[in-house]
């Protein structure tokens, strides 16, 4: 599918940027006429992925989080969220519901479960010591007609 539009931005891994990151992504996606629930679900998935970069990727240090959002001709949104943090040694385990490596912060261990439930496709590529790339994909259906809420 041809790329219709895209944005690319990056920010330091400060928790105050979690809000700004999901606002930027939702502002971009708004132009595709999503339903309220599509927009809210994508926003939630982005918040989970960005929080993972900040809480886990750059656990005891600061670094840069990068986001690329792309809309293709068929109204599929692809969101790539990358960090150059510590990486995930066991991606399968990290994606298990209720697994968390940060229980002291009251993390529920549901970040990936939320992403998988709200997006059509979630892929995780991670190299220990190099970083992690999470790719979220969802087709916006409601823009075809207003009935798909």
């Amino acid at each position: 599918m041809a790329v219709k539009n895209e944005i690319h931005f990056s920010f330091p891994s400060e928790s105050c940027n979690e809000r700004i990151a999901r606002m930027c992504v939702t502002a971009f996606i708004s132009s595709l006429n999503p339903s309220v629930s599509e927009l809210a679900e994508i926003k939630t998935a982005v918040s989970e992925a960005v929080t993972n970069c900040i809480v886990h990727g750059y656990r005891n240090r600061s670094g840069k989080v990068e986001i690329l959002v792309r809309a293709s001709d068929d109204n599929t949104v692809t969101i790539k969220i990358s960090d150059r943090g510590c990486g995930i040694p066991d991606v399968k385990k990290a994606m298990e519901p209720l697994y968390t490596s940060a229980p002291e912060e009251e993390r529920a261990g549901l970040g990936f479960a939320v992403m998988e439930s709200f997006m059509d496709k979630v892929t995780v590529k991670s190299v220990v010591g190099k970083g992690t790339v999470i790719t979220l994909q969802r087709k916006i259906l409601s823009s075809v007609g207003a009935l798909h809420n």
């Binding site: 928790s15 809480v55 939320v114």
Partner: protein, 101 residues
């Protein structure tokens, strides 16, 4: 002020304000725990009417308060959730720990 606290006899009502994410959760948690420590409620009501966004940080927040209040024989009631927030809570099975309205 991320939480407005009301008390009625043995009930503590926490009206959570704004967005619940990893950045805000710590402050919300601190405010509720301070009030709970002071009032020792039998019933903790978490009011989501003024919550505009919540990710899984909100799940951690509810689970943490459940762990805090359960040993004291307390119960948690979650009220005024939007359909979006309810979806995240059900995904986490929070409906097994607390009543959700």
């Amino acid at each position: 002020m991320p939480v407005i606290i009301d008390t009625e006899e043995t009930t503590l009502i926490a009206h959570i304000q704004g967005e619940i994410d990893h950045h805000n959760a710590a402050e919300i948690r601190r405010d509720i725990d301070l009030a709970a420590d002071k009032h020792r409620p039998v019933k903790l009501v978490l009011d989501f009417d003024d919550v505009t966004f919540m990710d899984s940080s909100g799940i951690g927040l509810v689970m943490g308060r459940y762990k805090l209040i359960k040993p004291l024989g307390g119960k948690i009631h979650i009220i005024n959730t939007s359909s979006q927030i309810k979806k995240v809570m059900k995904l986490a099975g929070l409906d097994r720990l607390a009543s959700i309205e």
